[in-house]
């Protein structure tokens, strides 16, 4: 693993999932190659005065957590400055796509927990709840349908939207201060509710989910299933869902996934790393 694998277009873009995967793997295992890959990639995309040299918002949002990691590891102010600028930009206008929200909310939670007064927790909870429930109780299970007209959201498979949401929820919960328990608990309850709504749609033969979730005849989706495995593993480790019941499901899914697919692009590689990191963290307990 090296920085070149993480960078896109000579540093104008970045594989956010792969970057996050490296950060998580280093935190879980202490293996330096992951730390070095992440820091070397960030060194390219963050200027000396803390400007994030990426061309689009989604890319920027996907770096947030890694910027804080870089500041933690190196003490260099440019990373904190970049994180602060990103936070301010996101605060001014939360990203308008569903995908953008899922990328940015965990970082906003982490930043505000570490450097802010945690004022954003209430808004973060409200955003997640609005995404899942729409305007009324009758509009439940909206969460795997696109809620914006953006091509990014419309083109993604329902399972991928579900996976991003669950992963974002778990990542956000992990970064929150549990002592603001009402907000932490609201998201924890939401996470459990969504998992319980999703699982009945798992195909009992393939042990995986179809791309659209509700239609089992549809083809299974590689990336979407990987995201669900990650969310389940993380949910178990954080104590959000019962280990006895849900760990087995995640192991079955991962095993079935490996029989069918390979991590043949950066995003899948990134999620595979994040899953490995969760396994390593879980084995420490």
């Amino acid at each position: 693993m090296d920085a070149e694998a993480i960078l896109l277009e000579n540093g104008k873009g970045i594989h956010g999932a792969l970057l996050s995967g490296c950060v998580n793997m280093y935190r879980a295992t202490g293996i330096n190659k992951y730390r070095d890959a992440a820091l070397n990639a960030l060194h390219v995309i963050v200027s000396s005065d803390g400007e994030l040299l990426l061309k689009d918002h989604s890319q920027s949002a996907s770096c947030g957590g890694a910027l804080l990691f870089a500041f933690e590891e190196t003490g260099e102010d440019r990373y904190k400055t970049a994180a602060q600028k990103l936070r301010d930009a996101l605060r001014r206008s939360f990203l308008s796509t569903q995908r953008g929200l899922y990328l940015s909310l965990p970082f906003i939670a982490e930043y505000d927990t570490r450097f802010g007064d945690k004022q954003s927790y209430k808004e973060i909870v409200a955003r997640f709840q609005r995404m899942c429930y729409g305007k009324s109780e009758d509009e439940k299970m909206l969460w795997f349908r696109p809620i914006t007209d953006s091509p990014e959201d419309q083109d993604a498979a329902g399972l991928q939207r579900a996976g991003r949401l669950l992963a974002a929820l778990a990542d956000t919960i992990e970064k929150m201060d549990i002592q603001l328990y009402e907000h932490y608990r609201a998201l924890a309850d939401l996470f459990l509710t969504l998992i319980r709504q999703l699982l009945p749609f798992r195909d009992q033969c393939s042990l995986l989910f179809s791309a659209g979730i509700v239609n089992p005849e549809e083809q299974a989706d590689a990336l979407g299933n990987l995201m669900i495995v990650y969310a389940l593993r993380k949910g178990v480790r954080l104590g959000l869902i019962d280990e006895e019941k849900y760990l087995r499901i995640s192991v079955e899914m991962m095993s079935a996934w490996k029989e069918r697919w390979q991590a043949d692009d950066a995003e899948k590689q990134g999620f595979c790393l994040m899953i490995q990191a969760e396994e390593a963290e879980g084995s420490k307990r």
């Binding site: 007064d117 004022q119 549990i178 002592q179 603001l180 328990y181 608990r185 459990l192 019962d242």
Partner: protein, 516 residues
């Protein structure tokens, strides 16, 4: 004279209801006609009695009998001495298992006896229908390595995932906490008596280092009761707690008598007594000298308040002495289930930062109603501010935020707490510093009523200016009267203020003010 409590081996008596911690006049005690001792406390206990036996107790003043009373001790099935279970009491061997085995083996109506000795132990768990007695000279020392403590998980989902089972608690939230020195989970009818000592060893180990950070779990207390009823604690000394001292939660019919609760002034968060969402609680004849509030009445933070809204109510605190400590009797800041019907009387407070202290803030919720709090016949010496009501207390990670601290009217909604009626009657406070009272309500939900009647305040001529309340933008002051912001009614009747500087009442946004 009135019998307050009887066990198989002891009793507690109210000797002088008009005294405070000390009786107005010392008495000589006679037990069954024989001289027992001279006693100068209003509430006292007698130990070393025999089960199922009639006793007579008399008080004498200046060679003349003043009063007498008879009582019968309770029956006792048997006594289990922890040394027979293998406890060494030598201060070195780990006696946890031996003491725990004795407790678990004790039959209903039996007594677990801890004789004199130094016992090194971890957390212990109580069982229903027993008495636990600590003989004079029995000192239990709590372990200091946190890795050796069991954890009480804060929240566990029910198997059907529809509900939750709450166990551990920290500062008003269901969070993972280390098991405390003595734990009662769902137990009833337990008496913990004696003249022994529980030493939490807080000054050893790392409990008081970075105290607010969760390391594995949150800090243990000396007593933790959850869902208990009919519990009495008599006579013990507890000291050097890792965190709060006595912490009963969601429990009822609790009696605490003649205890001593001690922690160094610099020890962090060593509140003396924190009943949380409890009802029918009596605290009599106890002395506190701790590193935080002596007594703090609590009812959880907003999650617990909104979901369960179990108030702390019917609380009586009398004939106690509160020395030093931040507050003599505090309400909050965790009060989201409400705190009401509180009577504090015949107590003495000395050297506290604040006498009665109400702490709340936006975000505590609609069930967070503090009401019907009465202080009467209380003597305060060198208490810097006798009465503080602070609805903008800067606690919790967002405590300094604009949301909590704004003096502008905010929407009154489900997150807004309420302060109702607070009364001081026959309170005498000498050596005050900042002011007699500081009231800071919320503009959108003013404090309903503050009444001071037949009270006397005098100020310390050597005092230095200080901020009377812990909120943003509270200016330091010195020897001021009543300073009030955002209240519906402020009524003073027969209140004297000696050496006060400035007006007796400095009020803004107060609907009705009277000063007779």
């Amino acid at each position: 004279m009135k019998i307050l409590f009887v066990s198989a081996r002891s009793c507690t008596v109210l000797m002088d209801p008009e005294g405070d911690y000390h009786a107005k006049t010392p008495r000589r005690l006679l037990l069954n006609g024989a001289a027992l001792r001279d006693e100068n406390r209003s509430v006292f206990s007698v130990f070393g009695l025999w089960p199922d036996t009639d006793y007579s107790l008399e008080t004498w003043i200046d060679g003349k009998k003043e009063s007498g009373i008879t009582f019968r001790t309770e029956k006792e099935v048997c006594t289990l001495n922890v040394k027979r279970f293998g406890a060494a009491g030598d201060g070195e061997k780990d006696d946890t298992n031996a003491i725990q085995a004795a407790i678990l083996s004790c039959p209903p109506g039996g007594r677990v006896l801890i004789p004199a000795g130094d016992y090194f132990t971890g957390p212990l768990f109580l069982k229903s229908h027993i008495t636990l007695e600590f003989k004079p000279g029995a000192v239990l020392y709590l372990k200091t390595e946190r890795a050796e403590f069991p954890v009480l998980p804060g929240m566990t989902r029910t198997t059907d995932e529809e509900g939750e089972y709450l166990l551990g608690s920290w500062e008003g939230n269901p969070l993972d906490s280390f098991a405390s020195f003595l734990n009662g989970i769902g137990v009833e009818d337990v008496k913990i008596i004696g003249e022994g000592v529980l030493d939490g060893n807080g000054q050893k180990g790392d409990w008081w280092v970075n105290p607010k950070i969760k390391r594995i779990a949150y800090r243990p207390r000396m007593f933790y009761l959850r869902d208990c009823k009919n519990i009495a604690v008599q006579g013990l000394t507890v000291r050097n707690s890792p965190a709060w001292n006595l912490h009963p939660t969601f429990s009822e019919n609790l009696t605490f008598l003649n205890m001593r609760v001690e922690a160094p002034a610099v020890s962090p968060n060593t509140d003396g007594f924190d009943p949380e969402s409890c009802r029918h609680v009596r605290m009599y004849g106890t002395e506190f000298s701790v590193g935080d509030d002596c007594i703090a009445l609590k009812a959880g933070k907003i999650y617990m308040g909104m979901k369960y809204h179990v108030p702390c109510e019917d609380i009586e605190i009398a004939w106690c002495r509160m020395l030093d400590g931040h507050g003599g009797v505090t309400v909050g800041s965790e009060m989201s289930g409400g705190v009401r019907n509180v009577r504090v009387h015949h107590c003495v407070m000395r050297g506290n930062d604040r006498g009665l202290r109400i702490k709340t803030r936006r975000g505590r919720g609609k069930y967070g109603v503090v009401d019907d709090i009465v202080f009467s016949d209380v003597h305060m010496e060198k208490v810097k501010v006798p009465l503080v009501v602070n609805a903008m207390y800067f606690c919790d990670p967002d405590g300094h935020s604009e949301y909590v601290q704004s003096r502008e009217k905010q929407p009154a909604d489900d997150t807004t707490p309420t302060v109702g009626s607070i009364r001081f009657e026959r309170v005498r406070a000498e050596g005050c510093q900042a002011c007699a009272a500081y009231i800071l309500g919320l503009p959108e939900r003013p404090v309903r009523e503050i009444q001071l009647k037949d009270c006397a305040f005098s100020f310390d001529p050597q005092a230095m200016p200080m901020a009377p309340a812990m909120a943003e933008n509270v200016e330091k002051c010195l020897n001021r009267g009543v300073i009030a912001r955002f209240a519906d009614r402020l009524a003073l009747e027969n209140v004297t203020m000696e050496n006060v500087q400035g007006p007796r009442i400095d009020g803004e946004y107060i609907q009705t003010v009277s000063d007779q």
